[in-house]
């Protein structure tokens, strides 16, 4: 088996395709590294600046617990991933901030309490430059490496048959599956070497710069990403072997492979997603505003009805506080519902694209690089957790003040003492590998399944090959 693999390797190393593939991958990875070094420090700088601004803002409100509670924790920023060069994941398009909106006045001298408000996306309406895909690892591996894998395997079996050497090999006392595995391993190594070279150079360039630091956790993630890349490449190698074993001429084999590749890699993801997206229609922005308006109006009707009669002063404050809090909660719930419907639509569309291996690999790269849609959901989850923490902090601090009448939501009912700025919970966006792994497990299994199915297909085809 190793003998066959070695022979394949020597064959490949001397070929034009090996040289071309190496040059192409090296060039792309180098470009990727240079661009990352150019862009990432700016991104980090911007993030730090925004965080500091948000923090100063928060401290400025700390002199009064009521103001702090009413105006909320300010803007919560998404932390840019160090591994953004692995997968861009449409990050420029996703919002990087969740805001807490509050109303200056909800009439009657009352002020609205803050609620989480999700900006939808940040489409750049002024961009008139041509549309391009970001050259990240996901692109290089997803498109270029898969094409290279096909170009390395399309003639493995059919080429040998054409040249007549297949007879020679099979005449030796080696079982056919050993031959096949040897060929597979040979191809895998000869695709893996240019990739490993390119990846190493990319990481070398990135890690030598002091501006971009990759932590131990990130190195682990990079390892997983490399493993996924190899798995993804072996999928296409197996496909190449399968077609090559079934088809008598290598030219025909390449044509079939290319057409399969174009369909599944280039077209299926976007087309399927567009079709799947059409199945559900989430709440539109107009609808959202309408629902919010209705809820708001209803809440005020109740308010007016309550005050139509004479009420005791203490009860009045109690009611007003409840009114303010309920208003904020209600609005937040509608916001969340709106967001959840949008997310469900995107999730469904993403799910259907899993037919295409490139979509699976894209999802995996995004999960492990900490970018993209799943990561965005994690960020949203983090902001929700923080909102809960913040509200708990307000309630706790308020209950610690003996002068307050502990009615959250209204100035008269709350403590107005200054708060220690250091004690306020600060939002820090975190990335957790275990959560990523859960999201990625299905994709990883699916990818492995594809590889196994295709490899066994190739085995069956090869066993039945007539020489």
């Amino acid at each position: 088996m190793w003998y066959i693999a070695k022979r394949e390797l020597y064959d490949n190393f001397n070929s034009l395709r090996f040289a071309l593939a190496t040059v192409l991958l090296l060039g792309l990875m180098l470009t990727n590294a240079v661009v990352h070094l150019h862009e990432h420090p700016k991104r980090i700088q911007k993030y730090n600046a925004s965080i500091n601004e948000s923090l100063t803002d928060l401290t400025s409100r700390a002199d009064n617990l009521y103001t702090l509670a009413q105006e909320g924790p300010g803007l919560l920023y998404k932390k840019p991933s160090t591994l953004r060069f692995c997968a861009d994941g449409g990050e420029p398009f996703l919002p990087n901030v969740v805001g807490g909106a509050f109303l200056w006045s909800i009439s009657g001298g009352l002020r609205g309490f803050w609620r989480l408000n999700y900006p939808s996306t940040t489409p750049n309406l002024t961009d008139i430059r041509p549309n391009v895909t970001k050259v990240d690892w996901a692109f290089i591996i997803g498109y270029v490496l898969s094409l290279i894998a096909i170009l390395f395997t399309f003639d493995t079996v059919s080429g040998e048959r054409e040249r007549g050497t297949l007879r020679l090999i099979l005449a030796n006392p080696i079982p056919r599956h050993t031959v096949l595995i040897g060929k597979f391993l040979g191809a895998l190594i000869s695709v893996g070497i240019p990739l490993a070279l390119a990846v190493l150079m990319n990481l070398l360039v990135i890690s030598t710069s002091s501006a971009v630091q990759i932590g131990a956790d990130a190195w682990g993630r990079l390892g997983i990403i490399f493993f996924i890349a190899i798995l993804y490449a072996s999928l296409f190698l197996a496909l190449g072997l399968l077609v090559s074993a079934r088809v008598s001429r290598s030219a025909v084999s390449l044509v079939i492979l290319l057409l399969i590749w174009v369909t599944f890699v280039v077209f299926v993801p976007s087309t399927l997603a567009s079709i799947a997206g059409g199945f559900s229609s989430p709440m539109s922005t107009d609808e959202l505003w309408q629902r919010r308006g209705e809820l708001y109006a209803k809440r005020w009707e109740r308010y007016d009805a309550y005050f139509a009669e004479r009420v005791e002063r203490s009860k009045e404050i109690q009611f007003k506080g409840e009114h303010v809090i309920a208003e904020a909660e209600e609005q937040e719930r509608v916001n969340e519902e709106h967001l959840a419907q949008q997310i469900a639509q995107v999730k469904f569309a993403r799910g259907t694209t899993r037919i295409s291996p490139i979509a699976i690999s894209q999802h995996l790269f995004e999960s492990f690089a900490g970018t993209g849609f799943e990561r965005h959901l994690q960020f949203l989850e983090n902001t929700k957790t923080h909102a809960r923490q913040f509200r708990k902090f307000i309630a706790d601090t308020d209950s610690g003040d003996p002068e307050s009448s502990h009615i959250i939501g209204i100035r008269e009912g709350m403590s107005e003492k200054p708060v220690n700025p250091a004690a306020i919970p600060k939002f820090e966006d975190t990335l957790s590998l275990s959560k990523d792994f859960n999201a990625a497990a299905v994709d990883l299994l699916l990818l492995t399944l594809f590889v196994i199915v295709l490899l066994s297909g190739a085995y069956l085809a090869f066993v039945r090959v007539e020489v």
Binding site: L16, R17, L20, L24, L28, T31, V35, H38, G90, F93, S120, T121, P123, L125, T126, D127, I128, R129, P130, N131, V132, T133, K134, V135, F139, Y143, V144, L147, L151, G159, S250, A251, V252, L254, V255, I256, L258, L259, V262, T263, V266, F267, S270, T271, A273, S274, I275, G277, G278, S281, P282, S284, Q341, Q342, I343, Q345, V346, A349, T353, F373
Partner: protein, 497 residues
């Protein structure tokens, strides 16, 4: 003899597996994507109609001139199904206001129910062609000469009394005839599906014909690239491999690299800043003149009784990124208290003075802004486009965008129309003496009658303009074709059998 050769080649090509496979894939992809795109277009059209209705309603509900919001909408272009270009990306509605110059950098977007769905890039028919036609051209060409050489039939043909150029011509003609089948057939299917739900005008059909013509030139270019490789390499295997690497580079890699190579430099920020300062100066001057007027009339000050009586809202601002200049003058009141009635003549004088001043100021700022925007955004986009043209994909994309009218120029037409409409509205306001009327700021003695307001209409540029815009790129494609063909003939003549 040429005829015999063409017939032989034609039969050879038509009976192959690759022909069937290519035909099937092209048909499938074009049909499926057409269905998806048509649905998408209908959705956009619906949202456009809704938006037009809503904006009309909003205008009818406004009682005074100063609080009226006049918006115009950009209809989706039906040919965006072929090449979406900038049609879906730029804003599709914009305000018309005397103190604001509408440009494509200020338009806003309606009608995206779930903006997250834009994650998934949409595929238009030209994109399908970009990928598939180029692949087809190469797949048909790689063994045209190399294959015959391997099989030894090249000697046989060359032994006949026929020129080498003619052999190439025969191969070219027959292969192109074959390749046209999937192109035309899939387009016919697409048109069949399209016209069922989207009415197309004669001009649109002519534009589509232009797109087909460009596609043909693009296809031919890739066939010739394949032929060149086939002539220059001795073995089909090598030829195919090389062809695929060339394809991967031209289609996949290069177009995505251009934005990396021309990175916007730091001087852009400086350019924006200088323009911003210049415009700020113009606004300051406007502000000074306004204050002078207020002082002369003895009604200066934000908290003055005059200001309170009329519920003034005034804002003059320039956006530091897009340089949008905006001067707003309005009164937010439903009636004038009887004891403030004495201010009405002053208010009329004020508005009559300040509104033409604001109009002039904004127009003056626009001259600076236009230049800055051209230098910052348009030049960069043009640079990208030129670099993109080093790959045939870029030329093809440009030409088809120009035909479809979804390129920058096509979209600019709309915003120029919007600017003209602004002028018409201002003239209309002058004609009605609206600036010095009571209805400008208060509606207690009769609301504004909007029925005589000129309507906005926008016609896409005529076919001749589209053709004029597409012609340079088509010419470029043609030249590339000719040069390649000549190179192939030269190499073939010198090659040994």
């Amino acid at each position: 003899m040429l005829k015999t050769l063409i017939r032989r080649e034609l039969l050879d090509n038509l009976m192959t597996f690759r022909f069937a496979a290519v035909l099937l894939i092209t048909l499938l992809l074009v049909v499926v994507n057409t269905v998806v795109l048509t649905q998408d277009y209908e959705q956009r059209l619906e949202s456009y109609n809704d938006s037009v209705k809503r904006h009309r309603q909003d205008l009818r509900n406004s009682k005074t001139y100063s609080t009226a919001y006049l918006f115009i909408d950009r209809a989706p272009n039906p040919l965006s199904i072929f090449n979406v270009g900038l049609d879906k990306r730029l804003g599709n509605y914009i305000g018309i206001y005397h103190g604001f110059m509408p440009t494509l950098w200020d338009a806003r977007m309606h009608g995206t129910d779930n903006p997250f769905i834009a994650f998934f890039s949409s595929i238009d028919i030209v994109f399908v062609f970009e990928v598939i036609l180029s692949l087809m051209g190469l797949i048909f060409a790689y063994d045209a000469i190399a294959g015959e050489r391997e099989r030894g039939t090249l000697r046989l043909i060359l032994a006949q009394p026929i020129g080498r150029g003619q052999i190439l011509l025969a191969k070219y003609i027959s292969a192109m005839a074959c390749l046209l089948v999937p192109l035309i057939l899939s387009l016919l299917f697409a048109l069949l599906l399209l016209t069922r739900s989207i009415p197309l005008s004669t001009a649109d059909f002519l534009r589509i014909a232009g797109i087909v013509l460009t596609s043909f030139a693009y296809l031919s270019l890739f066939y010739l690239i394949g032929l060149l490789i086939s002539v220059a390499t001795p073995r089909t295997g090598t030829a195919l491999m090389l062809a695929m690497f060339v394809w991967g580079f031209l289609i996949l890699v290069y177009p995505n690299l251009i934005r990396v190579t021309v990175n916007p430099g730091g001087d852009i920020q400086a350019r924006v800043k200088t323009a911003h300062n210049q415009i700020q100066q113009i606004i300051d001057e406007y502000e000074r003149e306004r204050q002078k007027f207020l002082e002369n009339e003895g009604i200066a000050g934000e908290t003055s009784e005059f200001s309170k009586a009329l519920g003034f809202y005034h804002q003059a601002d320039v956006n530091p990124v897009t340089l949008t200049t905006y001067i707003e003058n309005m009164s937010v009141i439903s009636e004038i208290r009887p004891d403030f009635e004495k201010y009405v003549p002053v208010a009329k004088r004020y508005y009559n003075f300040v509104l033409p001043l604001a109009t002039r100021t904004v127009e003056k700022a626009w001259r600076i802004r236009k230049q800055a925007l051209d230098e910052i955004y348009v030049r960069q986009a043009r640079m990208d486009r030129i670099l993109l043209k080093l790959s045939p994909v870029g030329i093809y994309d440009d030409a088809t965008q120009a035909w479809a009218g979804t390129d920058l120029l096509g979209l600019r037409d709309f915003f120029e129309a919007a600017q003209r409409y602004r002028k018409i509205i201002i003239d209309y306001l002058y004609a009605k003496d609206a600036f010095s009327s009571r209805e400008w700021f208060v509606a207690d003695k009769g609301a504004v009658d909007w029925s005589t307001l000129p309507q906005f209409t926008f016609e896409r540029s005529d076919v001749r303009t589209n053709a004029k815009r597409a012609l340079p790129d088509m010419f470029l494609l043609l030249i590339c074709n000719l040069v390649l063909f000549m190179a192939i003939v030269l190499i073939f003549i010198k090659s040994e059998v």
